[in-house]
Amino acid sequence: MTIEFRGVTKRYEDGALAVDELSLTVPDGSMTVFVGPSGCGKTTSLRMVNRMVEPTGGEVLLDGRNVRDADPAELRRGIGYVIQHAGLFPHRTVLGNIATVPMLSGWSRRSARRRAGELLDTVGLPAELGSRYPAQLSGGQQQRVGVARALAADPPVLLMDEPFSAVDPVVREGLQDELLDLQRRLGKTIVFVTHDIDEAVRLGDRVAVLRVGGRLAQYGTPADVLRHPVDDFVAEFVGKDRGYRGLSFLSAGDLEVDDVATAAIGSVPEDSDEWRLAIDAERRPRGWLAPGSTVDGRLAEVDLVAGGSLYRRGTSLRGALDAALSSPASLGVVVDDDGATVGVVTARHVLDVIERHPASVTATSGTANTTATSRTANPTATSRTPRA
């Protein structure tokens, strides 16, 4: 289902403008992230889709139909909604919470609860949790139940209002991965609101950057927003690391992988004045043996210096550069899909690839795309190919 904002404005009675002439299209089956500082109208814009907020100008269309023509309660039952802190009903069990919309839509209690049970599994929660109350769950579990509840009636559209901002960073990353995975399987049309640009570029097929006063600053793919911010506001908002973040969208292509000296755990290594990568029986990297270090007898984990991040072959350049920079030997370890060592890369190799890249981050940042207006969505922006 396509969501279209057409010149949508929200002006409060005191004259304050929350959203100013917002025009953009969220294509069917894709995820658009609204991102911006507080007061930019991102949540207000989101809530105009399910009529929690009524626009004072313009219209919001779902598959071409104005949402104002629908009965609000009926409309909302067809739109999943996930809120910050999950907003679960404290007095209902997990299953009861998930079954909410099916029950409201008149399903029998039994089929609603059966559906709720399936959804527990979909969001990766064990069935025993079904009879718990929300207060008995961790923050991350509550958030999953929130997602399950939003999906219960299988709505084509999902609205997510800072759903992961209240959980700790490690859990958040897991939830983000699961959302991407869920989205690949279910193909919903999603509008996601966040103030975190990292989350935005990680999740969105498209990112809409909003500025205070509710104006759309830029609408495009994450790579586009990072590489070609239309103005100083967007450049500032996406941050100082945007060049580095942009590497997430560059494929490693012809990245040169070098051989590396290795030492198997359990073997008796000879003395050497170079870094050697310790590997186990499956050739998985275990750490580094420092130059000139001596080993008493057989090589064990205690003799090793901890390694840096690993770079999985075929993923983005960001991982490759990070692997090289975080390695004690300045050699980024490259592994295959099974985690076995393939070789190493140096930061120099990665930089070579970056500089050879046709749409190099460094060559074009801040200069291109100056024609896009900051006032409304660049009409071409909506037709750009989403991230693969």
């Binding site: 739109i79 009903f89 007095h91 909410t100 919309v101 929660l125 064990p126 008995q136 769950l137 579990q141």
Partner: protein
Amino acid sequence: MSITDELATYLGSANTRAQLWAALAEHCYLALLPILLGVVLAVGAGWLGRTWPPVRGTLAVAANLVYTIPSLALFVVIPGVIGTTILDSVNVVIALSLYTAALLVRPMLDALDAVPQAVTASATAMGYRPARRFFGVELPLAVPVLAAGVRVAAVSNISLVSVGALIGVGGLGRLFTDGFQREYYAPIVVGVVLTLLLALVVDLLLVLLRRVLTPWQRPASPNRPVAAGEAA
């Protein structure tokens, strides 16, 4: 004659015991029916306060005013207002219902306000219409606060019923008027003890009722998040 002998003689009579049971039953009816009606009124006031916020201040002030009217005055005034006879037990029921409601309106409004915004917003976003949201989400969440108010109101009612004896309708209160008139202390002692026992039993039942209505709040529930599904 010592007070124990007096009590033994008083309670020894089958006739007295039958009267006591009747008085106790009447006391229960006069004290507890108003609780039910008062809760209904307070819920109505809460609903009004939620759907039409400007009326909230008025509701709270009105509730306070009602509670300051002396009970005896109210017992006497009600027949004039609704045309019942002065000895009708309905007068006492109505008066105590008003007191109960008056006592519950403010906690009711506060409890509804205390329902987290995220919860009401998500209920609306799920597609609840206002009435169903009120009874299905907001009111159940107000139960703990409401229950605390009901316990106070119940005990207060049980003691206030006795005042009704002055207009001839008072359950166990009649034991007091009777005892004073005859300077006979046994019924007074029995009346006090039965009133206390009734208050205790009713309070206990209300605590149990609250527990049944708020299973999500049981402190006994072990707080043990499941590890599986957390690691991601």
